[in-house]
Every structure is written in C-alpha cells, then in structure tokens.
Symmetry: C2
C-alpha cells in the first residue's frame, strides 16, 4: 500500500495534534508518526485547567489524558516534548526542531506534516503589562502559576468576561478569593447577544462577583504590595493578581515563515481536508481558519470539539485521501457555566448577523426545562434566529439553570440538518416528567416563530418610549404590584376580554407578561378586536428581570 512507510510529523501535541496521531495510527500500523510539542506536556485537558485551580478537579494528573510514555505505549509514536519547530524547508520536506534544553536544532523529514500549534492568550502592550502578577491561562504551567498565586491571595481581577474569564471568576471565588470581573463591552460573555447574558450577569452579582461592564483595562501598576488595575472609567482595582482573558491569537509564526497562506485575521488557511496552501502540510485546531457551516464564509473557532475532529480528518486525508470526508465547517457551538447558571450559543448571533448584513428574524421564548408539575423545574430562555427567506435556523442562544446544553445540542443538530422554524415546531423530543415537556421549549420557539411569520404574533423587543403607546401588563395583580412594569396599566389576563373598554382603540398597545406567552395570548384577543397591538418578546424575563418567572407561584 502507498502509505506503508509514510512519515508523519505533527507539530503540537494537544487536541488536534494528539487526535491526528491517534487516528493516523489506527489507519496505519506502518507509518512513522512523530509528535513534537514545545511544552513539557502532550494531550492535556486544557478545558479543565480552571477547574483544577478551583479545586473541583482535585488531582493534577487527571488533566493529563496522555503522557509521552502512554502515547508511545498505546500508539507506537515518537514523542518529543520541550521541542519547538522553528522552520520548515518545504522543498526538502524537513522541519527544524530546536530542543529547549540543548538549543540544538534537528532537521526532521516528513512526508505529511500537521501544524497544530494552537493559539496564545492576547497580552496587549498596556503600561505595566510585564508585571509578573498578570497571568494568562493556556497550559499546565500557567495553571500552576495561577494556583500558586491563589494560595495567599485575597483579591483577584479577571479581565475579560468571555468563557475563560467566567470560568476563572467562578473558580477563584470558590477558593474564597474576592473577584472583580472587568469587561470592556457592556455585557458579560460578549460572544452572545446582550439580552441573553442578563441572567448570567445577575448570577455572578448574586454570588458576590464584582462586575465592571463597559469598562476596559487601561494600565497596570504596583500599588504597595498590590497590583493596581486601572480602568478606562478611572476606577482602580487593587488585587493580588490579575488574570488576562481577553481572547486568543493563532500561533501562526511558523506557518508565516514557511509562506503558507494566512487568513485576514492571521490564521493558517486550510481547505476542507485541512490542507494548507502546501498540500503536504495540514493544519488543524485553534490556529486555523476554515469556513462557517451556515454561510460558508471564513471562520476560525478556537474550541476543543472542532480541533479534535479537524486533527482526525487531517489524518484521514494524509493516509486515505480517496475516502477522506470533508470538514463540514464550524458553527461555534459553545457553553459556559457560572455558579447555577449556564449560557451558550450555536451558529450566528444577532450582532454578527447585523454586522454581516445578513437578513434574519428573531424570537425569544421562556419555558420550563421539564414538566412544570414535576418538582425541580427551572426556567430556560431560548433565542432563535432564522432566515426570512426560507425559515432556516441561523443561530440559537440559551440560558437558564438545567437543560441549556440539551437545547443547544438540539439546535446545533438542527442547524447541521438545515432545519427551519417549522421543523423545530414539530420535533418529537423525549418527554417524561423528569426530562422534558409535552411541548419542549424548542417546540415552543418554533411555534412562536411561525406565529410571527404568519402574522399571528407581532413581537417587540423593548418597551416603547413613545408615551402614546398603551402598555398593558397582563400578569396577576400581586405580581404586577410587586414589580410593576414602568408606564403600564395592569389588566390581568382573565379579565381582559371584559375590560377592553379600558383601552383606547385609536392608540397602539404593547402587551407585557413575565414570559412573553400570556402577553401573546392577550395580543391575540386585542388584535381580533381591532387593536394595533404588539407583544413584548420573551416578556420581562428576557428584557428586564431575568428572574421574573422565578417569582411566579409554582
């Protein structure tokens, strides 16, 4: 067979690199496979790093999925750690590898080369940035440094409220450290649309995280024994250490030096088989730019799932190109937990669609994670975005207590299957009282979206500022009295049909309730009685008070 003595060289030994090595070995017992890793560890669980810092993952070794030794034993591959690839001779098909200990350079030959160098945390050139107390988290050594810092720390500043920032804030807090979380944008989890992050922000505050939103870091300076973090607003936060988690950049220096084609944001460009502009050089993982599964546009998604699958696909194409299957593109499915709240997304968000000028419609609904009559039900908020052309789902976001991951996974699958809002309405999902509802929140989102496109539901995202609009809150009076909707009159839903004369038919109406469901029912009554009426989409829960529904008697 052609690949009998194929010589495969892999640069980078974590998610994509280790996956490629393992898959290559399954496909060929005779290939020579060598894995080069700059750091001391291969195949570690980088998504687990925050949880060892916080102590949830007690044993450090748990994070080592493999060592060089186990990779050798299991896969019969050569592993060189503390060895950095510094140059590629594409013509000669050689990679220069420098040993960290001896500084000696070896030129290693390859038939097929995989670049899986990952991405590194952004460290902007701010005043004071070189203070050793400003830490980032990429590998086990970074983790160890942070863990050491936590031992004597009372106060930490986490800069950047993305996925890593949120996980770090939570885990540091669990260690009893006072945490300030700083985010330049006016919301946590900037990957998501702001309204879908309200519950997360509320949960962080409830748990004592000191949130600073819409306020970027400007500089660092020592202040006594502390590190002073100065924000754009002029505020100064003094801490024992800071975590910088404002994003990552692709490790593309080697690729650039080898004149491989790069994307506009500096990633290594690959085709559907993970080949770079040199067909014998593949790339996979956080360093690459592939394409978006929905639109086909360029996309770089630095997450573990895509990295693992890309590394595996690269091995398929290196060894059996004829039967290798193309990468279907990335969706950016992601999730995070902070204390009792989870939030996540798949596909496109409103802000990205708006920025890309892609037409879309949006619907936000709330419902229980499982049958409301079964104990322990909690509320979920779900937003879906779809194409007005064909109804196809473009993106989804979810937040709540339990069951967020399930809804995201169903919607990620719906996107992969090119399903539309009509399909969501009719999904037949598993239902028993501990697990779901006869109509799952996903069905309800699909039904509400169809109501919208059918003209039955006329949603509005925010309460009108225009005082001529009549705002009608249809919640029960005790709930309205406890948390009145500004500018609204209260007509509890069961009384609405009898009290239509309280409203002025010549003026527009917006109906409001906790979840956006009863307000829709009310809007149907009003519309059929000749009113110009809109319903507040997602209700108070999705617009003003993310715990509005938790106040409802169960």
């Amino acid at each position: 067979m052609e690949h009998k003595h194929l010589n495969i060289l892999i640069i980078g030994g974590v998610a994509a690199g280790a996956s490629c090595a393992a898959r290559a070995r399954r496909l060929s017992e005779t290939a020579s496979i060598t894995l080069i890793e700059r750091g001391p560890d291969v195949s570690f669980a980088n998504c687990g790093l925050p949880y060892h810092i916080g102590g949830e993952i007690a044993a450090r070794d748990t994070l080592k999925v493999h060592t060089g030794q186990t990779l050798h034993n299991m896969l019969n591959i050569g592993v060189r750690t503390l060895a950095e690839a510094v140059d590629i001779d594409r013509k000669g098909k050689l990679v220069a590898v420098r040993s960290a200990s001896t500084e000696e350079i070896d030129w290693l030959p390859y038939d097929k080369l995989l670049l899986a160098p990952g991405a590194f945390p952004v460290r902007p050139p701010l005043p004071g940035i070189d203070d050793p107390r400003i830490l980032t988290l990429r590998n086990l050594q970074d983790m160890d440094r942070i863990k050491t810092a936590t031992a004597s720390a009372k106060k930490a500043v986490v800069i950047g409220a993305g996925f890593i920032g949120l996980e770090m804030a939570e885990q540091l807090h669990k260690l009893g450290i006072e945490v300030s979380l700083v985010e330049m944008l006016p919301q946590v989890l900037p990957q998501m649309d702001a309204p879908m992050t309200m519950l997360l922000a509320d949960e962080l505050r409830k748990n004592g995280i000191d949130l600073h939103l819409g306020d970027g870091i400007e500089s660092f300076a020592p202040e006594g024994e502390k590190l002073a973090c100065k924000l754009a607003s002029g505020k100064t936060l003094a801490a024992d250490f800071a975590i910088l988690s404002i994003g990552v950049r692709p490790e593309a220096r080697l690729a650039a030096k080898a004149r491989l084609e790069l994307g506009t944001r500096g990633h290594i460009k690959v085709n559907k088989f993970m080949q770079t502009s040199d067909p014998d050089i593949y790339a996979a993982g956080d360093a690459v730019e592939t394409f978006d599964r929905i639109t086909g546009s360029a996309a770089a998604v630095p997450l573990g799932g895509p990295a693992n699958r890309q590394g595996r696909l690269a091995a398929d194409h290196m060894i059996n190109p004829a039967s290798a299957r193309p990468y279907p593109g990335s969706q950016g499915t992601a999730i995070v937990r902070a204390f009792g709240v989870a939030a996540g997304l798949t596909g496109w968000t409103r802000k990205r669609l708006e920025a890309a000028d892609i037409p879309f419609l949006s619907m936000t609904v709330n419902d229980n994670n499982h049958a409301g009559y079964y104990p322990g039900a909690s509320q979920l908020t779900l937003n879906i975005l779809w194409s007005p052309v064909d109804g196809r789902i473009l993106g989804a976001q979810a937040t709540g207590g339990e069951g967020v991951d399930k809804r995201l996974d169903v919607l990620a699958t719906a996107i992969a299957g090119k399903l539309g809002i009509e399909d969501l309405a009719q999904l037949e999902l598993s239902y028993a009282p501990p697990f779901g509802s006869a109509k799952d929140v996903i069905n309800i989102a699909g039904m509400a979206a169809l109501n919208y496109t059918d003209g039955l539901l006329n949603p509005v995202r925010e309460l009108p500022e225009d005082a001529s609009v009549q705002i009608v809150d249809v919640r029960p009076k005790p709930l309205f009295d406890a948390d009145p909707t500004p500018g609204a009159i209260n007509i509890p839903f069961p009384m609405l049909r009898a009290q239509l004369d309280k409203l002025d038919r010549s003026r527009a109406v917006v109906t409001v309730c906790a979840l956006g469901k009863t307000s829709y029912f009310a809007a149907r009554i009003l519309a059929q009685n000749g009113f110009d009426v809109q319903s507040l989409s997602g209700g108070i829960m999705a617009t003003r008070n993310p715990r509005a529904a938790y106040k409802l008697p169960s």
Copy 2:
C-alpha cells in the same frame, strides 16, 4: 372572515383536546368552542400520575393544568365534564352527548369536530380479572384508587414492564412497598432492543425490585386476604394489589359507530391535517393512526408530545386550512427513568426493522456523559441504526445515568433532519467540562459507524461459540482477573504489538474490552498484521455486564 362563527366541538379534554381548544381560541375570538369530557377532569397531566402516587409530586392539584373554570376564564370556551359523546350524526353535523348524572342526551351541533378520546389500558379476559384489586392507571380517579391501595399495602405486583410499569414499580418501591415486576417478554422495556435494557434491569434488581422476565400473567385468584397472581411459569405471586400496565388500546368506539375509517389495529385513521375520512371530523392523540416519520408507513404513537402537537395542528386546519402545515409523522421518541438509570429510544429498533424486513446496520458505543476528567462523569451506552443504502439514521437507543435525554433529543433531531452517520460524526455539540466532551458519544457513534462502513471496524455482537476463534481480552490484567471473559486470553492492550506471536494467525480472533473502544484499537493492530479479526461491539458493557465500565479506575 370565513371562520367568524365557526362552531367547534371537541370530544376529550386532555392533551390533544385541550391543545386544540387553546389554539383554536388564539386563532379565532369569535368561534364557538365547546369541550366535552367524559371524566370529571380536563387538561390534567397524565404523565405525572405515577409521581403523585409515589409522593414525588406532593399536591394532587399540581396535576390539574386546567380546570373547566380556568379554561373558561382563559379561553372563553364551554366545558362539559362528566359528559360522554355517544353518537355522531355526520349528515346533520350533530353529536349526541349523554350527561353522566342525568343520563339525558343532548344533540350538539358542530361545524368542525375533533375526536380526542385517548386510549384505555388493556385488560385481557383472564380468569379472575374482575378482582377489584387489579388496577390500571389512566386518569386521576385511577390514580386515587391506586393511592388508596398503597396506604395499607405491603406487596404489589406490576404486570407489564413498559414505560408505565417501570414508573409504577419505582414509585411503589419508594413508598416502601415490595414490588414484583412481571413481563411476558424476556426483557424490561419491550419497546427497546434487549441489550439496551440490561442496565435498567440491573438497576431495578439492585434496588430490590423482584423481576420476573419472560413470564406472562395467566390468572388471578383471591388467596386468603391477598390477590394471587399466577404466571405462565407456574409461579404465584401474592400481593395486596396488582397494577396492569401491558399496553393501551385506542378509544375508537364512537368513530367506528360513525363509520369513520379505522386502521388495521383499530385506531382512527387521519390524514396529514388530522382529518378523518370525514373532512369535517378531525382526530388527534392516542386514538389515531398517522404515519411514521422515517418510512411513511402507518404508525400510532400514544404519547403526550404527538398528542399535543396533533391537537394544535387540527385547530390550524379547522380555522385556516390554506396556511395549515401538515403533520410530519411520528417517531416514537420516548424515555423512562427508573431509580438512577434512564433509557429511551427514537425511531426504529432492531427488532422492528427485522420484523419489517428493512435493511439496516447497527453500532453500539459507550462513553462518558461529560468530560471524564471532570468529577461526576457517568457512562452512557448508545446504539444507532442506519440505512446501508445512504447512511441515514433509522433509530437510536440510549441508556445510562445522566444525559440520556440529551442524546435522544439530538438523535430525534438528526432523524427529523434526515441526517446520516457522517453527519453524526461531525456534529458540533456544546462542550465545557460539566456538560460534554470534545468528542461527544454521539460523534463517537458516528465515527464508529463510518469505521464500520469503511471496513476499518468489523464488529461482532456476541462472543463466538466456536472454540476455534481466539478471544483476546485487552483490558488491564487486574480488571480481567476480577471479571474474566469466558474463553478469553488476556493481552493488555499496550503489550499487544509485542505479543502478536501468542496468537495463531490461521485462526480468527475476536477482541474484547470493557467499552468496545480499546478492542477496536486492538483489532486495527491485528488486522494490519494479517489477522482475521472482529471487535466485540459495545464491549462487555453492552453485551454482558452493563456496569463493566463503572469498575474502571476513574
């Protein structure tokens, strides 16, 4: 508008009937809507009944989603309970409704009629079947009777180990009652394939449920103060009461009397808009026969999800036929929890595919519900069945601790989207350590299925009886010694490459491990070294000991 004064009559006030009433009112404020219910309650949560018996749902009223009064207040509909529809005059468009209290009959007119009568528990004509201690569970009154029986009972026999039987066995056990569970077929949950129910049976036994599988009920008789349940095997189980949960039959008497077309199994036949053979008479819910979403063949799925959506669709077509969307068919997605184990299915099973002579391929895999390095991970077993023609998923079954519902819902969505094994391999599902894995068990199932169709993996469902086949168990020696595989030699995986000479190349080999993953790796090594080799699909966990993997060091 056409439907201004449409007169809608609905027979049956639970899932399908109440959904139809509510949707019809949203679509038309002016329609006259009347709901007729034979029992005293409308819109109750019938899936919750077992959980009130067991006390998990403490307050009985929690199960009443609506009362006649709240339906009137919210929806402005007329509700008549304790009123049975006994005849239909299709020509005159009238339904004869008999009051349970007065026995008087009213003929009520309709423009559009919905039949949503549900299904009743099967009560076969066995000797002694009329003993009042033989109870079934369909409504709140049945529930009350069982609850009363539990008050003084020490021992109960549950006959039929389907969804209701399992839920009842669990809930009665929680009340401190000794439970025998009797099932004619040699497995619990006969809706699923036997291997996928092993864990469930094991969990029931571990919790002290006295299982009698492959043993049907033959007769009942009083025995002292007890009820003696005599089984086909000759065994007699004495109990204070018995629950009969061996299936349901559609309530189609009224439809038959009205000469509406029935299906071969006695259900009311409907088209995609839920119309019976009389276009002004609709039917929905447990009593109807619709079609299978995958094959298009006739299908009757007596579950809450389809019932709710069918009732809603019927209202759409009654009021706005031009814009009504067709029912996409049923998949039979279902799930049950018994103690710490969940099990469920979506689409077709092996036994149904075999019976229908539909070609299929099958793959069973095991993996963690979330990242193994994060605390609390538990094992899941997943079986997928797909078409050898195009790879399309025909069915899936899952069992395990946490996360079963999520995988079923993803696979139900994959089926709705006509996805294939290649798509499963590349689904981009949500991953953070508390929620998932970089490669979810669903990805792994797709990858394993592709390995199978690509000829990389040659799975075998059972250990060979043929002594000439060499069985090689590749688990670590301590695990093998603790629970040896019958007839196998033990070569721990890392030693395999060096110990190939222990094996006879002229004889076939089957490799075995706990999960079916390492045995695949071993089979790849052997195949590439010239061996005729198969790997035990799903490992020991899916074939012999459903807790095999739980023994592995974490």
